[in-house]
Amino acid sequence: MSLLTVSDLRVSYGGIEALKGISFSVEEGKIVTLIGANGAGKSTTLRTIAGLVKPASGKIEFEGKDITGHDAQKVVSGGIALVPEGRRVFDNLSVLENLRIGAYLRKDEAGIKSDIEHVYELFPRLKERHWQLAGTLSGGEQQMLAVGRAMMTRPKVMMMDEPSLGLAPLVVKDIFSIIKTLNESGMTILLIEQNANAALRCAHEGYVLETGRITMAGTCAELLNDQRVKGAYLGSASKK
């Protein structure tokens, strides 16, 4: 039974169709990745699920309930978090406040406190800097904070929009190992990446998105070995 199902989703921006009817599903406990070039509609997909963009048609179901067109606030309280592209931490808030604001809708102070501790265990660097303004953190630290902030919403699915974008190669490695760790602790993850190679090595299942359509789907092992994927997205990096 899949946790999140998207069927025939269409989204338009001022007459231009960004998503031309895409369908995919995310099973509980899995890492699913959408790969594709710039402008293929990856971000639009996540933003639509998150409630920031209203779809023209199609259906989004989460835990069997129709959540199509719900407001962002309702989506996040339902258990879907989005780690936005470019991290978008609140640079005028401290690290701790950024985590607290992730728990904005929650009232369980004890649970919030223990979740903050949990985030600090996962990212000790954030604990060292908990009083600093988030704007003073490095790119990698900001990405960790953005993930921690999303964790504070207690999501059942975490969607990540280009978490490796603009980060140094070593930090990118860290980020993907964090994604693995999160997943091993039971988090379902929907990941979109331009770094197709790393994404497919990290995830269980993948979909290829091209100009608003899904053109390929399969397990990551299959996609990694697919000649078309190799040619278009993996380049020479696809050595076995």
């Binding site: 998150a50 409630g51 920031l52 407001d71 962002a72 606030q73 996040v76 309280s77 978090a81 989005l82 936005p84 470019g86 978008r88 609140f90 640079d91 005028n92 808030l93 406040e97 607290r100 604001i101 992730g102 904005y104 809708l105 902030r149 919403t153």
Partner: protein
């Protein structure tokens, strides 16, 4: 010498404090919406008229004063919901033009309702009494204003720094979309900002009109504009900046009056605006504007 300038200094601090209460409303709204709420001065005037009419209806002061605050807050809230909220995703220029429209609408509504006659502001007992400070005779409101302003501003800054709604305000001021992803209802936060700004304008109106007792439809335009200059001078978006700017403007104005150039005192404020925009556009306490990426 000191005896001669003391009344002007007192008056300057006092009127500066009154500008500050209006300026905070400008700067908070700008901080969140990047909108200069041109209607804010007219909301301040409306607060003056609410007091005039409620008192004329025979209502006792202890009842009319809180009611004026409530009505002013309702007006500010309604203006935001009707004239700004539907333009949330429109270009910033549209919402600015809407604000100018609301300003004229309110002003002309007040012309219509009052018939254009200047009304006498009711005397609020106690604060309008005359007192003597260090040999200078003045109204008690002059002495109270700086303390009241300081208390309100400290409370406001604490609200913004320490409370959950304050944290949400800071987050929304930086990034609407990401704030929504945290489950923050943007519209509630924006409404809260307008409510606080309008309430402070109402308090400002009690103090200001107890000093300058004539209420007419354009009565709030000049203090409104000066408060706006104060907000820009202090660095728009910064609350301490707005207060500091307002005090400077209030004191300078009165010193200019004290040396016999009373006619020039308004011009000074706007000359200051030009100088600030030319040499320090971000104001005294303004943040460096970094573009969102």
């Amino acid at each position: 010498m000191f005896q001669r300038i003391l009344p002007y200094l007192l008056a300057g601090i006092s009127v500066g404090g009154q500008y500050a209460l209006i300026a905070v409303g400008y700067t908070m709204v700008y901080g969140i919406l990047r909108l200069i709420n041109f209607a804010h001065g007219d909301i301040f005037t409306a607060a003056g008229f609410f007091m005039v009419y409620l008192t004329a209806s025979g209502m006792p002061m202890y009842f009319s004063i809180p009611l004026v605050v409530i009505l002013t807050v309702l007006l500010g809230f309604t203006v935001e919901r009707v004239a700004y909220k539907p333009l949330r995703s429109a270009p910033r220029m549209s919402i600015m033009i809407s604000a100018i429209g609301v300003s004229y609408l309110l002003q002309h509504l007040m012309w219509y309702i009052t018939g254009g006659l200047t009304k006498q502001y009711p005397t609020i007992p106690w604060i309008s009494d005359t007192v003597t400070v260090l040999g200078a005779s003045t109204r008690r409101v002059t002495i109270i204003t700086p303390f009241l302003v300081a208390a309100l501003v400290v409370a406001l800054v604490a609200l913004i720094k320490k409370t959950k709604i304050g944290m949400a305000m800071r987050a929304v001021s930086r990034d609407f979309e990401t704030a929504q992803l945290m489950g923050i209802k943007i519209n509630n936060v924006i409404s809260t900002t307008f409510i606080i700004g309008s309430a402070l304008a109402a308090v400002g109106s009690f103090l200001f009109f107890s000093n300058y007792t004539a209420v007419s439809p354009p009565a709030g335009a000049m203090p409104g504009l000066k408060a706006f200059v104060a907000a820009v001078f202090g660095g728009i978006g910064s609350i301490p900046g707005a207060v500091f700017g307002a005090l400077i403007i209030g004191i300078c104005e009165n010193f200019i009056k004290s040396v016999g150039y009373a006619n020039f005192s308004d011009a000074f404020t706007f000359a200051l605006l030009i100088v600030v925009l030319l040499f320090k556009p971000t104001g005294l306490f303004g943040e460096k504007t970094s573009e969102k990426v």
